[in-house]
Structures are given as structure tokens and as C-alpha cells.
Symmetry: C2
């Protein structure tokens, strides 16, 4: 693909470059984003940048409901679109050398270096700048603390290489920020108070009864070297300026520590007081100590989460980047939160919660985190059941419809073909309940909250299908499947399949736990569901031996992606929507998503035929697509395809596959590379409460290894010339390797199969 | 239908009421709109209204390109949506009785009367108001002159019934106006100059290279009675105040005459001068004389256009209202203009030009106006061929795609399911060329401009279909048919049919006029078109004997409108879009539209079967629908249905069938009642260059009569107990009545058939 772009060097633990990519600053900023789950930001330069760039800081759970604007209002549209909002820029340090404000966009710079150390969660940068008066080397390090979540630290040092004069540094808290995606350039903030070293701002009022969020930022700056300092305030702005008189070989430094508190935790009137007291606590340790604690916390995360790959540093860097950015966004610590599509790396798409969480993130958190993290994600949905009822009612339907995009549970996405039609999402909410229960063996959730959610989702499906007299079958019209490159199709195979699966799974568990649940399903309702289950229509083509994506898919002109002019890719940036919709090209695994979910329902021959039919037409312009293809290719022994798809998912952002990473990273698909290795290359399966592996080792790799938590055990899985599974903690367990069940007490080793 | 609402009394020539409909002022305003083709306005009260209402004045061809705002941008969207903009309110007269400002919303009023005299184009109103000091009867008359198009006249008189004191009248030119549909309440005007008695304003700049329009309004006010007058100016506002000292039985009057000129005709710098000189010319006649001239001009229009109905004043009022409002909007005098969907009666929908013009207006103008009017409408499209090329290119397609909504020829509608998919509109542009040529016998247009347009439309169709290998047929996927209650369907029968018809008609005429046209179509291209023509797929169902609206229509749950809960109608105001799309209910004739267009292609049995199948599922929530059903019902001898549908089209706004007339009138469907009578009840057909009639007389009616122009003749057609056709001017001609050809030299009379 002609547009692929790799800004950073290959390195197993780092994103590093000696190049300042002037015309790709947005991309560079996206890739060097950092976050600690509580807040995060793009890799903006502390001193600002005069060229095209995107300054962005985001605080988890702080958002604004922006009025829905569409050409033609359609009943059922949500009133507002929930936007992730750009919050106070607290890293800012304007720098002047003898009154010349430095700007890497225009200044002559040498020795540029930028590094994101993923092992320790540290972003650093240095460069040497030569003005007519002086040559100075500036270095920056910053981190958002994992150990004190409200704390951000920016450490600037400067060394005068040549010349003398003054260096002025203006450390800022600057709330003069806009969303790039705002309509009509509105500002989403109003000022509450600005004082010496602090800013308090509040999101502007809205007409939708959504809370306004208040945020207070408090800073302290500590200079090393002789400096005159001076504090000022302006609208939305608090500054502290330092003027250093310097001569050749002088070293100066400015350490900035910022505390951010919001009304999500602290009411507005107490924010300054709480921030001040937090700052005092922070000052009980040195910044070096904070930095060490932060780095250790990252190391601890890696202990279990890391996937070690030897023999392919591109692959190694890719998966670590994905895990780093995923954990920077969400580590399961705040049950009110979910995993936003761009995390803290941009403001596109809006909303905090997508079906991506259930479909792609849950399997990873099940394996890498305590089960309580996943249970929290499930409870998040259970808590939003009233809103899901509301969403269904908006469409005139019974039961519960979980939203496509939301902050509160109320749908806030406003394209009818998505909002009203991409209802397969509802199936993934149910699937995650199955996933959790099956993986952990913990039935406590499904018996109570789970069955309630399942039942309401089932009621939605039962109302959403219709009986076609002509065909004497139930059908589901007017949906958009996972493949968003077709809209308003009839009988999307995947949607029909998952809908029926939900009905079956609900009935099965209702009957199993009927005595233990408060849920009531009448005999009549059950009979109706059974009727739907028995008489649902699933499009398929016997001649081709494939499940048909939807009713008229096969009437299209069917051509492979390889026949496309490379200039046309990505299609969504080069073709009209009309052209895309009418084409056969698939944005994202659709039938194959179903085969991935319900893998055990299909024969290898069915899997192979469908993969061979759909894969060549899939353009993977959704970041959620390649991992599913990688997993299925691995199962089908198509090693090359599996590795290609792994590469695509692992390096989606690092190599800018979809030519849109400048807008932010694809956070919710960051799990894809992990899924591809664990469920794909290693073929880890947990179907029917059994654990199995059938690994292969990609040709280029000499080894890969990972940990998984499974039902109270911690396992280490190592694939090199052998498959070695080690039980690091917990009770012995049966493990099936290459279809042979074995008992794992300590270590199992078997030869790798080709 | 529960929501039907009739504000005005039944009267053959008038809309009159003694009621002030406080909670339906918007509806009342819409219905009492007036216009003279150059400008127009809603029936707003001169003195303003404090309650919910919609002040609206509109100037033909003055618009603003408002940035397209959608949730998710799709390639191919137009940059802007062209909005009809609310222009200066020039009728305003604030009225004070001893400092009490009168407001019919809150004041106690007796003797209220409002009347729209359609015969003479005059809007009048009177009421008596009682304050603590005085009782005064106010009367207003106003008209927008047909003879001096820039002139608007407002005549106020007041009679003091009781008491004495002062009456103050503030006559205003007020450009402080907003569009209700603006995003974020922007104002679309900026002030250029305000002086004594005039305001000059200009539309705000835009980023789309669309001209800014300047408008100058100049007023003179003449008082009758002793008054002190005083002129003032403010932002966007010029006023002249008159204070009358009055005592019981005094009569006072204020006559206001306003000249409106715009940059469409007069450059900004000369507008005040030109307006002043026009005002001087106007003053050469008295306002009584202007009023008489205006009334005579309306009478002249009615001489030919009027359809006389006896025995059913509801029906009579309906068609006159339609013709009155249609001619108020467009009378073919300015070839730069077209027929906007709301005319001068509201600002919804935007755009000036829809396919409605070609499909519904052309037949009427062909029969009632000089052929040059229709030719101008055709030339309007030919002039916009480059923009139609642009529109096709936006979708990545060849040839020409005429817009759904436009001011300039460039598409400005921004819903993908309409803009990108409702491409059947392109067929109607071609159909109008056929209609003109076939009706007038004038081949000069088709030989030159017409063939160019036809060829480019054909190229679009040839590129838009695809060959389905599986079916060995050409198909057309991803369209929205005339029934906008289904989107993105495959093989909409109507669209496929008209596309193939265009290819055939183009080939036929190209071959006929090849020697006389500059158009070049290669043998290869012709062969390709022939291949498409020969192998196009048209969905049909042999068992039901119907053409199928689109591929999967018959899979739906098929239920008749009569099974709907009346509370759910209109569906578009009560059902979610999802519900509507999945239902079988048809917004507007779709297959039946095709049978109407290509009537001669089908047997009576085919017509009957399709009508009986589709009619019961049609909700007619498009104003364009019932007339087509009326025409076909008439042909099929279903008199009751034909009359019901006539009633619905003729009184659509008068009885508020679609519960949306408060937004403005359905101008482009105003021809529907005329079509229903002439092409329906009278069954006038002009197929294959022959003129025929097969009239029936609705039971309740004792007579109906109308004129038509046909190939240089003026005919009068009278249906009572007989069918009487009189040749009023022009050469004798053959006319077929009830399938019997007769030679008309003077008058033909045949008995009416049941």
C-alpha cells in the first residue's frame, strides 16, 4: 500500500527517532501519546509547534453532549453526540532564547531525538537549537504517574553549548482549548477561577441534563539554576515565568508537576483545596522517586502482560506498542469507565464505549487481569440496562438495545445506518457474558445480572425479526453488519446468527438457573423464541459452500482486493460512499466474525470455504478486522496470511495502514495483536470450559511467549522449537495440546507441529 | 385521520375565516401566503404576533450556501446545503393605542376576519380591538403586484368605534431576520446601509464561491388623517412612525408601498437609485389603480388556468388554491428560476429545484402556458449540464447526474440515501424532454440541447448498472426509489425501468437526428447500451402478477394501511426511521409512478394488478403521491378511489393531511389536483402525438371544465352530462373521445360514459 508510513525506528521496547517529521507531526503526536487511565495526551511538544499539529489532552470520563446536527432529522435519532473533549494543556512551556521564541517548525535544529520508552512509560525528547546568540541543547522528559494518577510531571533541562544571554521559560496551564471536531468552533469550557498556579474550568451548559464537569489544574515549578520567576494570570491561563541568565556550559532545569482533579471525584468547591493537599503529598517524595515508582509500576504490568517475540523486532515492537497504549487508556481501575476508541490520543468518533470492548477487549482482560476487571466491564452494561431499554424504545422496539456509542448508556451516535441498524452490537454484549462465564467458570454473574441483560437483549431480537409469510421463515431486515461498507441490508448472516445464538443461550441459562434468578420468562414467550430459533432464515449458498453475507451479496460484482488499483486504497478516502456501498469490498470481517465467535459450530471445511471466499474481498479498513482473519488463517494452517494479518493489526498505527493515525490511535483494536498471537498462532481455545492450544511458530520467528490467567492459575506459554507450558501458580489442570489432553502440574513440553 | 385540520371556510374563490387560530398561527400563515413570482411571504400579521409564529419573507433566487453538517462525512457529499433565506420583513407596522402595543395573541379581539381572495390575489384582514381607552376596528389589505413585480402594497385603515386618544403606527423595514433552520442561529445577512426609508443588506460571505446577494428595500408611507410623522433608523431597521390623534368615529389610514430590488437584477451600488426611480414610476398611478391592475392580471391568469367544478365547493376551493399558490411561486417569467418546494411560504427543504418540476409541473405548464415556458424549464437543465457532470464525478461515475436539490445545478442535498441513491430523478429530466417533444411536436429542442442532455444521462445509467455474472443480467444496486421510505435497495423496478427507457429513447432519437446533432455516440457505446437494454433485470412476481418494487420487497410483512392504528399516521411523525424502513408502507407511488409515466407500455390487467397490490400499502406521506394514484384509479374505473385521491391532493394543505403545512405549503405538488382532473378524471392522454379523452364525472359533481393549449390550439373541455370539447382557437384537430377518433373543428359533444 502506497501510503504506509513508518516514523519510528524498529526497536523492541521503544519508539525512537532522530527525525522531526515536519509534515507528519500529527502522526508523530498520535504515536507518542501517553496516559495513565485517568488522563492522557498526545505527544505534543512542551514548547508548542507553529506548524500543523493537534494539541490534545483528555481526561477520562470528562465529555460534552454536542447537539446532534443532521441534514434531515429522523425519528429515533439521539438528541446529542457525546464528544470526548480537549481539556487543559498543562505541559506547556514557552521557551525564549534572548526573546526568540523557539519553535521546531521554523528553527534550525540538530541532534533531534524523541523516544517513547514503553517499558517505563516515559516520553523524552532532546534537540539542539542554534540561534544567532546561542546554541542550546534542550531535553524533556515527561510522564503521567501510574502511582499518583492525578500527577503529571514534565522535566526540562537545557545545556548552553555556545554563547550566553537569557533563557526564559514560561510554564503554563492553558485552558484555551477547542475541539477540532466542534461545530462552529465553540469552546466547550467556561472559566470558573484562575489564580496563581491554578486554573478551574467547567464544561459549558447543555440542554440534555448531562452533568457539567469541573476541572482544576494546579502546578508547581522548580527551577535549577539562577532564575527570576514571575506568576501571571489571564483568561483560562495561569503562567509562571523563569528568566535564567546563562553562559556557555551552564546547565539549567525546570521541573513542573501538575495535579489534575475533576468533579468526577471532587466537588468543584473543594477542588483547589484537594489539589493543594495532593500536591503537598506529592512533595513528600522527590520527582526522581515518583519517576522510579512510575517506571516500576509499568514494569509490573509487563511482568504478566508482555508477549515476548524473538526473531522479529517489528512484530515485537508492534504488540508492545499495542499493549502499552491499551493499558495507558484502561487498566480496569475505575468501574465507571470503559475503553474509548481513541483513548487519550484524539477526539474523533466520540463516545467512551463501543461493542469493541466486549468483542475484542474482554478476551484479553480475562487472560491478563483479575476476573474482577472483566466483571466490572460486564456490570457497566448491566448498570446501563435502563438506558438500553430507552434505546430500544427510541426505535419503537421491546427489550434492550445497547448503544453503538455512548458515555451514559444512552445512544449518542447519529447516523441512522449505524445507530438504528448496526444492532449486531447487542449480540456482543451477550457474548461477553458467555465469554466471562465460560472462561472463569464463575456463574455468579450470569445467574443474576447476566440473565437480566440476556433476557432483555433476547426480547429485543424477538421483536426485531419479522415473519415472512412468503418464505415461511423469520427474517431480519434493515441492518448493518460488522461490514459497515454495506448499509441497510437484509438478513445479514452474522446478525441473524448472533441473534439466534442469544435466544438459545438465554433460554439455556434461564432453564438452568430458573430457581436462582429474579428474571421471569413466560412459557408463551419461550415458545415464541423457540419458534424463531427453529424457523430463522440464514442466507447460504450451497454451490459455493458459503454463508452469504446478506440476501443479495452474491448479485454483486465479486472481485478480489488484489484487482484494486493501489491508489484507490484506503477506499474510504478515495471512493464515494455510493461506490463503496455497491462494491463487494468488506471493511471488516463479517461472516468470518461469526465463525470466529462460534468457532466450534462449524466444520473445518466450512471455515476454509468461507475464509477463502471472503478474505480476498476484505480491505480491513476497520482496525478490528485483521486480527480475526489472522486467528482464522492460523487455524486453517495459512501461516503466511496469519502473519500478514498479525503484522497489519500489530503495526496498524505504527505503519499507518489506514492512513488515519494522525487523528489518534485505534485503541479498541489494540488487543488484536494479542488475540492474533494467543488465539491465532497459539490457537488457545477455551470452548466448553476446557483449555487447549495448537501452536505454530511463524517461520521468521525463533520464539514467542506469553502468560495467561486461567481459573486461578498463572500459566506461561512458550513456543520455540517446542511448546512449553509452565504452571507458575495455582492448582494442576488439564490442558489439551494438539488435540491431546495432558495434565499440567509443573511443565509440559511437546514438539512443535508444522 | 385524526390530525386533519381545516382552518378556512369552504368557498369557491376564497380562503376566509372569522377565527383567529391562536395555536395554529403557523398553519394559518402558511395557507395565507402570497407571492408574485419575484417575491413572496407567509401570511404574517402586519402588526406582528407575540405567540408562536413564523415570520417569513422570501425573494426568488436569493439564497445562502450553508456548510454541510453531518455526523460522519462520506465522500461525495456536497460542501454546502443551499438554503432559501428569510429576507427583510417589509410589511411590518407596529400599532399602539395610547402606548398599548396591540398583539392579537394577548389582546381581546372581536369581529376577526381574514380572507385570501384567490381570484384577485388580495390578502385582507380586519378585527376590532377593545382596550381600556378605546375600541378600534383595524383593516388591512395587501398584495404583491403582478404588474410591478418589485412592488408590495400594504393598506391599513382604522376606525375609532369608541373612545379617543392616540394611535401610533410604526411602519418598518426590518432586516433583523433569521432562518429558523439555520445552524446555531446564525444570521445570513450583513448590513450595507440603512437610511431614511430604506435598508440595504447583503448575504454574509461564504466559502463556496457562491455569489453574495444584496437587497435594497425602499418604502413610502402615506397617512390619511392628522398625523405627526417621524423617521428613524437602527441596525438593519428603518422606521417611519405616525401618531394620529383620534376621537370617536374617526377614520385613519396608512398606505405603505415598498420597492424591493436585488443584485440578481441591479448591482448593489445602483440599487437605491433604481428603487427610488421605480418608486417614482409607481407614484404615477394611484394605489387603487395598482390594485386594479394587479387584480386584472390575476383574472387574466384564471381565464385559461381555471378549472371550474360545480357541485363540490371543497374540490373547487382546493384546485383554485393549488393553482393560485403555484402561480404565486412561478409563472415562467424568469428563466433563471425554478419551482422551489415551499415557494415563498417557508424555508424547509432548501434548494430551488427538484425533479418535481419535470415530473409534476411540466405537464401543467405544457397545457396552460406558452410552450416557451416549458422550453425554458428544459433549457434551465441544459444550462446546468456541466454541474450535472460534476455531480456524477462526485460519485465517481460517468455522464451527468442531475441534482436532487439545487440552486445552481450542483447537488446541495446531504443525506447519502437521497443524494447518492435517489438517482431516478435523472430519468425525469429525460422524461420531460420526451414530454415536451411529444406534447408540442416541436423537435428543435431535442435535436440540439435535448440529445446532449439525454446522452449524458444515458452515460450515467450505463455506468451505474453492473453486470451480475451469477444472474447473467444487468442490475442496479444501492438506490432509493420514489418511495423514500425504503433506502439503499437493489433493483428498484421504477429506477431500472426509467433508466432503460432513457437508453432506448436516447438511442432512438440519436439515430433519428444523427445528421442534425453535434452529439457523438460511438458504435461501441451504442452496442453496450443495447446490451444493457436487452439484459436488464426487472423484478417481478408472476404469481401475484406484479412488478416488484425492489428485490426483497415481498419478503416484508405485507399489511394494508387500513390495519394501521390511526394514531400512528403520519408515520414519519410517529414511527422511528428504522420502523418505517422495515415496514411495507410506501411514502409515494413507486411502481405506480412508472406505470403512470409509461402508461402505454402496460395492459389494463397489469395496471389493475399493480394498483390493487400497491395502493393499499401507500400512505401518501409525500405530497407528490395521491395525484398519481388518482390518475390511475380513474383509468381503472375506480371512481371512489380517484375522487378520494383527488381530494387528498387538492386539499393536502387546506386540510393539513400530512400535518406539516405549518412549515409551508407543498408548492411543487400543487399541480397534482390539476393532473388528477385533466389526466385522471378526463383521462386526457397525448401518447404518440395523439390527443384523447375518456372522461368520467364524479358522482357528487354536476360539472367540471378546463382549458388546454395543445399544438397551437386552445380547447375548452366541459364534462357534465355530456363531454363537450370546443376549439376556441387554432386549426381543426383530431381528438379521440372514448377510443373513437373524431375531427374537432368547432365543438364536439358526446354522451358521458359511466
Amino acid at each position: 500500500m502506497e501510503h504506509l508510513k513508518r516514523l519510528f525506528d524498529i526497536n523492541p521496547w521503544k519508539l525512537a527517532t532522530n527525525e522531526l517529521h515536519h509534515s507528519d507531526i500529527r502522526l508523530q503526536e498520535s504515536l507518542t501519546s501517553t496516559g495513565n487511565g485517568y488522563m492522557g495526551m498526545r505527544g505534543n511538544f512542551e514548547e508548542g509547534f507553529g506548524g500543523d499539529n493537534h494539541q490534545g489532552t483528555y481526561i477520562a470520563g470528562v465529555w460534552y453532549p454536542d447537539k446532534t446536527r443532521v441534514g434531515w432529522w429522523k425519528n429515533g435519532y439521539p438528541d446529542y453526540f457525546g464528544k470526548v473533549i480537549n481539556a487543559i494543556n498543562f505541559i506547556g512551556m514557552d521557551i525564549f532564547i534572548n526573546d526568540h521564541q523557539i519553535d521546531l517548525n521554523t528553527d534550525t535544529v540538530s541532534d533531534f531525538y524523541q523516544e517513547l520508552d514503553m517499558e517505563h512509560g516515559m516520553l523524552s525528547r532532546h534537540f539542539t537549537i542554534e540561534t544567532s546568540d546561542m546554541t542550546v541543547k534542550f531535553s524533556f522528559k515527561r510522564f503521567l504517574s501510574l502511582t499518583v494518577k492525578e500527577l503529571g510531571v514534565i522535566r526540562m533541562t537545557a545545556e548552553v553549548i555556545k554563547g550566553s544571554g537569557s533563557i526564559k521559560v514560561v510554564s503554563k496551564l492553558d485552558n484555551n482549548v477547542h475541539n477540532e471536531d466542534s461545530n462552529y468552533d465553540e469552546m466547550f469550557w467556561e472559566e470558573i477561577a484562575v489564580g496563581e498556579g491554578f486554573v478551574t474550568a467547567k464544561t459549558i451548559p447543555n440542554n440534555f441534563d448531562i452533568e457539567q464537569f469541573t476541572l482544576t489544574a494546579l502546578m508547581e515549578n522548580h527551577a535549577t539554576g539562577t532564575a527570576i520567576s514571575h506568576k501571571e494570570t489571564a483568561a483560562f491561563l495561569a503562567t509562571e515565568s523563569f528568566i535564567f541568565d546563562v553562559k556557555e556550559h551552564d546547565h539549567i532545569a525546570l521541573e513542573k508537576q501538575v495535579i489534575i482533579v475533576t468533579s468526577r471525584d471532587i466537588e468543584e468547591s473543594k477542588q483547589l483545596e484537594v489539589a493543594t493537599s495532593l500536591m503537598k503529598e506529592v512533595n513528600e517524595l522527590s520527582l526522581d522517586e515518583h519517576q522510579t515508582n512510575h517506571a516500576l509500576a509499568w514494569e509490573k504490568r509487563w511482568e504478566i502482560a508482555d508477549v515476548v517475540i524473538e526473531g522479529d523486532d517489528e512484530a515485537q515492537q508492534g504488540i508492545r506498542f499495542n499493549l502499552f497504549q491499551l493499558f495507558s487508556t484502561y487498566y480496569g481501575e475505575d468501574e465507571r469507565l470503559n475503553i474509548g476508541p481513541k483513548g487519550f490520543t484524539g477526539e474523533k468518533y466520540g463516545g467512551a464505549t463501543y461493542w469493541d470492548t466486549e468483542a475484542y477487549a474482554v478476551p484479553l482482560y480475562l487472560a491478563l487481569a483479575d476476573p474482577s476487571v472483566t466483571k466490572n466491564l460486564l456490570k457497566y452494561r448491566h448498570n446501563q440496562l435502563p438506558q438500553a431499554h430507552h434505546n430500544a424504545r427510541q426505535q419503537g422496539l421491546k427489550g434492550a438495545l445497547y448503544p453503538m456509542v455512548t458515555f451514559t448508556g444512552v445512544e449518542c451516535h447519529n447516523e441512522w445506518e449505524i445507530t438504528f441498524e448496526e444492532i449486531h452490537r447487542n449480540g456482543s454484549i451477550a457474548y461477553a457474558i458467555y465469554n466471562y462465564t465460560n472462561y472463569t467458570g464463575d456463574t455468579s454473574y450470569i445467574k443474576q445480572e447476566g440473565l437480566e441483560v440476556l433476557t432483555e437483549i433476547s426480547r429485543f431480537w424477538a421483536d426485531r425479526v419479522h415473519y415472512s409469510k412468503r418464505n415461511k421463515q423469520y427474517m431480519m431486515h434493515g441492518v448493518t453488519g460488522p461490514n459497515e461498507y454495506e448499509n441497510n441490508v437484509n438478513n445479514n448472516w452474522y446478525t441473524n446468527y448472533i441473534a439466534i445464538w442469544v435466544l438459545k443461550y438465554t433460554l439455556e441459562n434461564y432453564r438452568r438457573y430458573q430457581q436462582e434468578t429474579a428474571v421471569q420468562i413466560s412459557e408463551e414467550e419461550m415458545a415464541h423464541w423457540e419458534d424463531i430459533i427453529a424457523n430463522m432464515y440464514f442466507p447460504k449458498d450451497d454451490e459455493l459452500g458459503v454463508f452469504v453475507q446478506h440476501d443479495t451479496f452474491l448479485d454483486k460484482e465479486l472481485i478480489p482486493v488484489t484487482d484494486l488499483d493501489p491508489k484507490d486504497v484506503p477506499l474510504n478516502q478515495n471512493w464515494s460512499w455510493d461506490h463503496i456501498l455497491r462494491s463487494c469490498f468488506i471493511k471488516q470481517a463479517d461472516v468470518l466474525q461469526g465463525i470466529y465467535y462460534f468457532n466450534n459450530d462449524f466444520t473445518m471445511e466450512e471455515k476454509r470455504r468461507n475464509f477463502e471466499f471472503y478474505e480476498p474481498m476484505t480491505v480491513h479498513e476497520s482496525s478490528l478486522s485483521p486480527c480475526i482473519h489472522s486467528i482464522l488463517a492460523a487455524e486453517l494452517g495459512m501461516e503466511e496470511k496469519a502473519v500478514e494479518m498479525y503484522q497489519r493489526t500489530a503495526r496498524l498505527d505504527l505503519d499507518n495502514y489506514n492512513n488515519d493515525t494522525e487523528d489518534g490511535l485505534h485503541i479498541t483494536s489494540m488487543t488484536g495483536s494479542w488475540l492474533a498471537i494467543v488465539q491465532g498462532f497459539a490457537q488457545m481455545k477455551t470452548y466448553d470450559e476446557t483449555l487447549s492450544f495448537s501452536p505454530f511458530l511463524p517461520k521468521k520467528w525463533s520464539k514467542y511467549a506469553f502468560h495467561i490467567n486461567y481459573r486461578g492459575r498463572l500459566l506461561h506459554v512458550l513456543i520455540d522449537s517446542q511448546v512449553t507450558i509452565t504452571l507458575l501458580s495455582g492448582e494442576p489442570i488439564d490442558v489439551t495440546i494438539y488435540n491431546k489432553e495432558q495434565h499440567l502440574t509443573d511443565t509440559l513440553t511437546v514438539a512443535i507441529e508444522a
